[in-house]
């Protein structure tokens, strides 16, 4: 067994186990964390398949940003686990049917008759000079430039729509706003006045002290 095989089985095993845990565990926060583990181990498998760009971007985008936001939402929900369990028996047959249909569809598409070394051949292994990033970048920005730009515009529209949905001007009674530009522009002269004062001279007390001592 080579070291790559060992790493592959470790990542593949963890990823399958974590995916299974993600759908069986009751607590949604824990489910999200198992999903994160699935992503990370899947990224490891991709790295082994010499697609380091995809693997690292999977971690960067999904693990580093998307799932954190997911966790944000899920953590702040007040979920009653007992309520969630209600109606499980009622919906179980329908769920099982849907699961079977989906499994059958997936099996038809990616069943063993389409995959296997005799169908696809051994994957080509590349030397250390091979850069997966460049291999992806060149077709993405030449051949598929139109689709790429289109996807970018779609995402932008999505962002604008999401912000527009949540944006509402609240009156000064509902929320307090600060004019940050005014706060930044403030200078010491606006708030602080330097006052010139004549120095207050202490009355000379040394002679008095001497007198007191003399009296003693």
């Amino acid at each position: 067994m080579s070291f790559e095989q060992l790493v592959f089985y470790a990542f593949a095993g963890i990823s399958s186990l974590a995916a299974l845990m993600m759908i069986t565990v009751r607590n949604p926060v824990k489910a999200a964390l198992w999903l994160v583990l699935t992503f990370i181990s899947a990224a490891g498998v991709w790295l082994l398949a010499e697609s380091e760009f995809l693997g690292l971007v999977l971690i960067l985008v999904y693990v580093g940003a998307v799932m954190v936001l997911f966790l944000f939402v899920v953590m702040m929900l007040d979920i009653n686990l007992a309520e969630m369990k209600e109606g499980f028996a009622q919906y179980a047959p329908v769920g099982a049917l849907v699961a079977l249909v989906v499994f059958g569809l997936i099996y038809l598409v990616v069943g063993p008759e389409h995959f296997g070394l005799d169908k696809t051949g051994l994957p080509v292994t590349h030397g250390p000079d091979y850069s997966n990033t460049k291999e992806i970048a060149v077709p993405l920005y030449t051949q598929h430039a139109y689709a790429f730009v289109l996807a970018a515009v779609l995402l932008l529209v999505g962002i604008v729509a999401a912000i527009a949905l949540t944006l509402r001007r609240r009156g000064p009674r509902d929320a307090l706003y600060q004019d940050i530009d005014a706060q930044v522009r403030v200078r010491a002269e606006d708030r602080l006045t330097m006052v010139k004062m004549a120095p207050e001279v202490e009355p000379d007390v040394s002679s008095k002290n001497e007198e007191e001592e003399g009296a003693k």
């Binding site: 080579s2 070291f3 964390l33 994160v36 971690i59 693990v63 580093g64 997966n132 990033t133 940050i180």
Partner: protein, 353 residues
């Protein structure tokens, strides 16, 4: 050196075991000095801030207080790890691991000098960004598992801050990649060879500033340490942690500080190249200094500025911090990506040779 070791090991044991042992030894060779540097960084922090505030700093344990970090470590090791009731114990204990594991794993791709790198991978910058983005889970999980309001608020603040500043950092790095034409960290440093005026600091000065300030925010250091904000939420996400569990968060934070300094030095300050390169007399005078020490010196200076910031600036307010990240840094970096793109396209500037 490690290749010969691995070769020798594989002559009398399984191949995979030989690779595993070699990787473990490489990890130890990096982690042990790193932990030592972290320990003395805490000492340096206390001393530097103390002198800036006209105090003595730690001076009781050992000469000049030099054994203070060791004493602190021993103290923390022997303290009890209190498990809060009603907390989620597994996640509570996993959270510090989630914080420190990426903070250490990142170092695999960092070159310390010419050829001194564990994994000289092609997508080095991407690897560092990806792995350091996982550190946020330590914060989020600890905040949620503690079952405490302060910890939860601290975790939310901190993770929002980390995600926001990661974007600005990523864009700042994109400009470096455009100038350097590579994502390999070693090649980025190679591209800055030939004197101080070839460092990317000069053409990308605003990006250097943005990257370093975002780095300070990314590591939750003052003046951006609202995650801890002791006047508001006690100590943020690690308020329920004690003993070694707390120390692990601490180690992770300082390891990330050193990492940000290394990345800044590699990306913008010429890595291991001497600043006197190309200057007639000084170059020969300092030719004996190995590249490792030049890089270490630059990193030490950047770490000093971390401490300097902490002693100088008051803490940012949360909305100001978010405004700085989203409304100042991100637009600035996006504009600079386009500026560098145009410069690159029209072959302007002396740095595209």
């Amino acid at each position: 050196m490690f290749e010969t070791l691995q070769h020798w090991l594989s002559t009398w044991m399984w191949d995979w075991l030989a690779v595993l042992i070699t990787i473990l030894i490489q990890a130890v060779v990096i982690i042990l000095p790193l932990m030592l540097v972290v320990a003395y960084l805490t000492y340096a922090e206390r001393k530097v801030i103390a002198y800036m505030q006209v105090r003595m700093g730690p001076n009781r344990v050992g000469p000049y207080g030099l054994l203070q970090p060791i004493a602190d470590a021993v103290k923390l090791l022997f303290k009890e790890v209190v498990l809060p009731s009603q907390s989620n114990i597994y996640l509570f204990l996993i959270a510090p691991v989630l914080a420190i594991a990426p903070a250490i794993a990142v170092w695999a791709a960092i070159p310390f000098a010419e050829g001194w790198v564990v994994a000289d991978i092609d997508a080095g910058v991407l690897y560092v960004l990806a792995i350091s983005s996982i550190t946020v889970y330590g914060v989020v999980v600890s905040g949620w598992a503690s079952n405490s309001k302060y910890a939860f608020l601290g975790a939310l603040r901190s993770s929002a801050q980390k995600i926001s500043y990661e974007i600005a950092m990523g864009f700042a790095l994109v400009t470096v990649l455009m100038v350097a034409d590579t994502m390999n960290l070693t090649q980025i440093v190679e591209g800055q060879k030939g004197g101080i005026w070839h460092w990317y600091l000069i053409p990308l000065l605003p990006m250097f500033v943005v990257y370093f300030i975002s780095g300070v925010a990314e590591t939750n250091r003052a003046p951006f340490d609202i995650a801890e904000g002791e006047s508001e939420i006690v100590a943020g996400f690690h308020v329920e942690y004690s003993g070694m569990a707390f120390a692990v968060f601490f180690l992770a934070e300082y390891a990330m500080m050193i990492l940000i300094s290394y990345m800044t030095a590699i990306m913008f300050l010429g890595g291991w190249w001497s600043p006197f390169e190309g200057i007639p007399v000084l170059e020969t005078l300092f030719a004996w200094v190995p590249g490792f020490w030049w890089l270490a010196l630059k990193v030490a200076f950047l770490l000093f500025t971390f401490l300097w910031f902490r002693a100088t600036f008051p803490r940012y307010r949360y909305d100001q911090l978010m405004r700085l990240g989203w409304k100042v840094f991100i637009p600035l970096t996006i504009v600079w990506v386009f500026v560098v793109m145009l410069l690159h396209y029209y072959k302007v500037g002396p740095w595209f040779n």
